[in-house]
């Protein structure tokens, strides 16, 4: 039992040490910095973001108006139908 515990302890220590080495290796992997020749390629263009933002506002509002009108039309048609049934019953 004692030898099993000892082996497990050694195995655990090995895993931690190996993991630590992997983390350290990953952190120190880059050895040099290479300058970028085409600097503009890294810049995030702002104009598409502005167009997407304004486009989204327009689409969202138009879609909401369309859905609202559809819901209103459906309810008012149903109301007219039920009102007609009630009037016939009387």
């Amino acid at each position: 039992m004692r030898s099993l515990m000892g082996r497990l302890t050694w195995f655990g220590a090995f895993v931690i040490a190996a993991g630590w080495n992997i983390v350290v290796a990953a952190q120190t992997a880059q050895q040099e910095f290479v300058p970028v020749t085409d600097a503009t390629r890294e810049n995030l263009p702002a104009t598409p973001l502005v167009y997407i933002a304004y486009g989204f506002v327009w689409v969202a509002l138009v879609a909401y108006v369309f859905l609202l009108w559809q819901r209103l039309g459906r309810v008012e048609r149903e109301l007219a139908s039920v009102s007609a049934k009630l009037a016939n019953r009387r």
Binding site: L44, A46, T47, L49, V50, I52, A53, Y54, F56, V57, W58, A60, L61, Y64, V65, L68, W69, R71, L72, V75, E76, E78, L79, V82, S83, K85, L86, R89
Partner: protein, 221 residues
């Protein structure tokens, strides 16, 4: 309500014309020195946020009125305003990250203003879910949720002045130069007209639904 129904097409036409003119005014406005072109999202982002706050206030006041006197009309106004708070809040939560991506380099920051805005929006989504799936009697609980949602509005507004954040603070609006203030005011007015028209139509929908439910009940008797 008849006057309101006649007013809606007029409000929609004027708002649509203002929305068509707005991009030209915004394009003519000067670029901001630090953020450049992406700052132009501000002209629709901030008015949307203002309409979200307005919708939240209308919902809160109507909800409190409903809790006070059980007025059906107040309940209809509260539901309608909550839905508009969700619609305009969604616009704020989509246009904001598009602006942030360029200005801050990230889509989202878990700072006080952004997080509180998201929480407030989620409260109004919860309000609508409660009304949709809560069953009979959920109006009272939903009204309480609406009041709590509204209570967040002042905190969302002042959060940028009292906590450390990278979001621009409220002084930005007071210090706007005239060339930026004019298109901004124009956009606010367009949003306000559109908001009023949508609120009136939405209240009409809610009132018609209530009449329909009563008509079905009368038909079953």
């Amino acid at each position: 309500m008849r006057v309101a129904n006649r007013l809606v097409p007029l409000l929609l036409v004027v708002a649509a014309l203002m929305y068509i003119r707005a991009p030209f005014m915004i394009q003519a406005a000067p670029l901001e020195s630090v953020m450049g072109v992406v700052q132009k999202i501000f002209y629709f982002h901030v008015p949307s946020a203002m309409m979200t706050f307005l919708a939240a206030f209308v919902c809160g006041i109507a909800s409190a009125t409903y809790l006070w006197n059980r007025s059906k009309f107040a309940d209809h106004v509260a539901v309608s305003a909550a839905e508009l708070a969700v619609v305009f809040g969604l616009i704020v939560l989509v246009t904001g990250p598009l602006w942030a991506r360029k200005a801050w380099g990230v889509w989202w920051q878990w700072d006080v203003r952004l997080t509180m805005t998201l929480v407030m929006w989620m409260i109004f989504v919860a309000y609508l879910l409660l009304r949709r799936f809560g069953g009979a009697g959920s109006e009272i609980l939903a009204a309480a949720v609406g009041v709590f949602g509204t209570a967040l509005v002042p905190f969302v507004y002042i959060s940028v002045n009292y906590w450390r954040t990278i979001h621009p603070n409220t002084n930005v609006l007071k210090s706007l130069p005239a060339e930026m203030a004019d298109p901004f005011r124009w956009a606010i007015f367009a949003f306000l007209l559109f908001f009023t028209a949508l609120l009136l139509v939405r209240i009409r929908l809610e009132s018609s639904r209530a009449v329909l439910e009563e008509a079905y009940a009368a038909l079953e008797d």
